[in-house]
Amino acid sequence: MTTLPESTQRKLGLVIDLDICVGCHACAVSCKEWNTGGYGAPLADTDAYGADPVGAWLNRVHTFEVQPPPSPTGPAPAQIVHFPKSCLHCDDAPCVTVCPTGASYKRVEDGIVLVNEDHCMGCGLCAWACPYGAREMDPLAGVMKKCTLCVDRIYNENLPEEDRIPACVRSCPAGARHFGDLGDPDSDVSQLVTERGGFDLMPEQGTKPTNKYLPPRPRDAQLGGCGGGAVNLAELAEPEVKGFLGWLDKALERIG
């Protein structure tokens, strides 16, 4: 049924911390690895050892360069931001409503957007409707693949309880990915979004994404010393410093 549920019981999703993502692609590859063996058809790679290898991936890490405007003290250095991107499990998911076969749907119990691969005819319209590039056609199976939020992990009683989280979150070395219920304002992920000013991607598209991104903290010149205010050595310097070796005697006496 490709009408969207009026509301979902929970809003499971991811919070991605752009401040600490080092761009290592761990999430993307572990996603590929889990999902090629998990939900639905394998995530195929065509011409895998050839001139034009193309595979289906559910999570890809982009890297952007941001040029801040000059600061009062001079030009600001450019910054690099690593940017993992997968399905945002939107509240108002346009990919679901365009689906002609009913294969795409948003789950009532947790808000996960899924493709029932047994019903998908592979028309690709849902991928066109998604502004985020979150859906990819499997090149061999001919059905649409997308992030399942590891629906076959998060409730899986064959896994230890602590492992019932998406593979990308489980593997992320920097701890830049968080999973939880964004519909519950008291959940850890919601708190994180509030504290850090988590934002939506392309809010103007009106998709109301569930996943949120935490912005990079201020960098370089926008920043004071470690722990806040500016420091300089002149301030820290001992008042009696005249000649360094002269100071040394007094300093040594003090430590006894």
Partner: protein, 958 residues
Amino acid sequence: MWGIMADGSQPKLDTSPHVSDEIRKTTCYMCACRCGIDVHLRDGADGKRVVSYIEGNRDHPVNRGVLCAKGSAGIMQHYSPARLKKPLKRTGPRGSGQFQEIEWDEALEIATGWLDPIRRSDPSKLAFFTGRDQSQSLTSWWAQQYGTPNYAAHGGFCSVNMAAAGIYTLGGAFWEFGTPDWERTRLFMIFGVAEDHDSNPIKIGIGQLKTNGGKVIGVNPVRTGYNAVADEWVGITPGTDGLFILAMVHELLRTGHVDLDYLCRWTNAPYLVDRNPGASFGLFVRDGDGKPLVWDRASGQVQPFDKPGLKPALKGDFPSPDGGRAVPVFELMAEKYLAPEYTPDAVAERCGVTAATIKRLAAELADVAFNQAFEIELPWTDFRGEKHESFIGRPVSFHAMRGISAHSNGFQTCRALHVLQLLLGTVEAPGGFRFKPPYPKPVEAHPAPHSKSRPDSPLNGPHLGFPRSPDDLALREDGSPVRIDKAFTWDAPMSIHGMMHMVIANAHAGDPYKIDVLFIYMANMAWNSSMNTAGVIDMLTDKDDSGAYKIPKIIYSDAYSSEMVAYADLVLPDTTYLERHDCISMLDRPICEADAAADAIRWPVVEPATQAEGRDVRGFQSVLIDLGARLQLPSFVDEAGNPKYRDYADYIVNHERRPGVGPLAGWRGEDGEATGRGAVNPRQLERYIENGSFFQTHIPEEARFFKPFNAAYQDWAVKMGFFDKPQPYIFQIYVEPVRKFQLAAEGHGERQPPEHLRAQVKAAFDPLPVWWQPFEQAAVSGEEFPLHAITQRPAAMYHSWGTQNAWLRQIHGQNPLYVHGSVLEAHGLKDGDWAYLISHHGRIKVPVARMDALNPHTVWTWNAIGKREGAWALDPKAPEAQKGFLLNHLIHELLPPKGDGLRWSNSDPVTGQAAWYDLRVKIEKAEAGAEVSEPRIGRQKSPVGQGSGNVAHGEGWK
């Protein structure tokens, strides 16, 4: 997996599908990080086991459950079409890739037939070098038993400056041998690190540190990876880190922000340095027992440094016991670095960092070290017997790797960084940089190098070690080198990792002598693990007048069809990392943590023969043990001459290096209850497997900090078998062995450098860190070659291994040259254009891309993406082979001629570290034409065919 849509709404999902039939825990080998992994296996329809999923082991001390991209892509490595299947005997010319598959018996007979006669006549005719393997404890032992002096791993190419500087100064180095105290540190400064050893722990640590509100400062010409998430980026000009660090040292000294108590107690800052002109000038003043002396302000006389209750002087001119004069190290240091040449203003332009920034960063370091200091209340006793109520924490930590080390001034730069750490009192302090057992370990606890080779006999001791003085050099009577790589000669006296990068050039030239067999394991010397790649290929294929190869025989072992395979005469196929035994041993490079000693194993979680048709491969270490027995090497055969070890697994369990100390520290003793020291336990491997393939034991709480001087730690280390007696020591700001080489250059002692090297040794072997302009930069015109060129290893790929990987090669299938926007524009280039990059040695054609978060005088690319056509079972039209490129072609082992008739080595004069980050280049727009990288090294025939078609892993069980 879904049911019918019963009510016309949502499909019913099975949210608890079967995951796998069995989980086997082993150790990853997709890079040098050595994370614990849970390998999920499924029983295939044919009864054979399939690796279905690999994830991080949550209990493992290294990765604590997480896993990087390489680790998760391990399945594709394991099932790579580039896997070798059987031993290969060369049939075509070298480099052609034409081979005949042979049986193991024949392969081992050939190898024995080559190795046995030279062992009986002259073992040095064998050069045995290994790459990134993690079994150097075995390979070095084997080479020692064989008797050749020509053994090393590839550390000399890799990052020996870091290792040497660390051991000589602190008794341990960065690499993965220590760690920032991630929990407690507030300010973390990271120099010259892209993806490296300690891959996941750094990611975990930076994430943790930043989440806790700490600050990261990245010092790197390129702002990617860790530097991208750094709160502040210092886009330094390559090769100037030493200058930048010493300017911060200048600032700290000038303003009195140094930890005097720490320096007095835990460093040699108070040691008295002899100022009497002559052969002892600059050496420590010692008492009759050889103990260095300090001037005690309390007693007003010299005292041995380790006497309790000292109040040592840090400055002054004191009488030495032999009647001369002596000054404390600290005064020499202060005078040196307070000189105007080290002021921030004097260095700013060369470093590409403003003087204001240098001053502010020094202030921040001091602010955090001293104003945010803290104490951990825990009584402990130091080696002098003095009792302390607490550990003083200094929450500033540093990490550095090849970005500062792979320069011709790298040894002293790494030393400078260690001195900076010491001035701030942060080494081994809570919140600072902390060692992982078996480090810290002083030079005195390491062997000196050994090189005495005799026919039919083992070498006189371990090949690699730490020279204390020129007496330890590997020189013949006539001053000529003993080793084929010329390690431990005046060219590179402290080449403690050997100089693998010189082996092929020297063997080809027959300088210092000709060898007969070149035996290499797991090092892609014909490609990305050599400088001057095309030149090295020529040397490997060059023939003498009689038509014989100048390097007569080459044996190579690898698991995959790499470029190097094509240049071997005999190929011994290794297993994948899921099919083998390994031990990550405390005799070598274990997986310890700052608070725990740990080691690990690999074991065959699947059998090779079940993993592909016709697969008949053996773990290299087992093959080496077999060869050892066939060659009747001592330690590999029993008294009757029968093999002592069945295979590597048997060796891991039963070999004892010293009584009770073997490759693995866990579950020793007949009942498996002993730790560290204990009798052989035949069930040891089973115990490891039960525990997830690793062993871990925690350091007692009062022994966790200030380990070199902490009596409780020293006792624990003896109990563990790291040392046979406590080895307390203090940190060496002033390195006396370095001074001994300098003294020789000044004309003292029996062994002195040859005249042409005298000035270089005198300048380079400064016992206090100094900076000089990197050699290649000094040798070429800055106007002609205005740019620095460097490489970085991508986080999702590790050297050349990754390219055969169906998943990883989609991420990095080709590499552009990243160029600063201003340089691109100045050359009329834009993203996607092609350009020539030209050094004094060569010219390559490359695609360019813009990057502004880059030091404007630097260009860079990802390392080792470019491939030779036909290698790694890839389609010759693969982007790696067509568009990918190596910077290696531009780098020569030697500097351009200076006109003095000599060719000087492009390496650090102290350690011989290859200076591949010294490269200077210019860029020129390439005319329109084929978008193919140059140079083109012809195609090699693939002995394993070409990987073809599609991959859909998981199909088998759906």
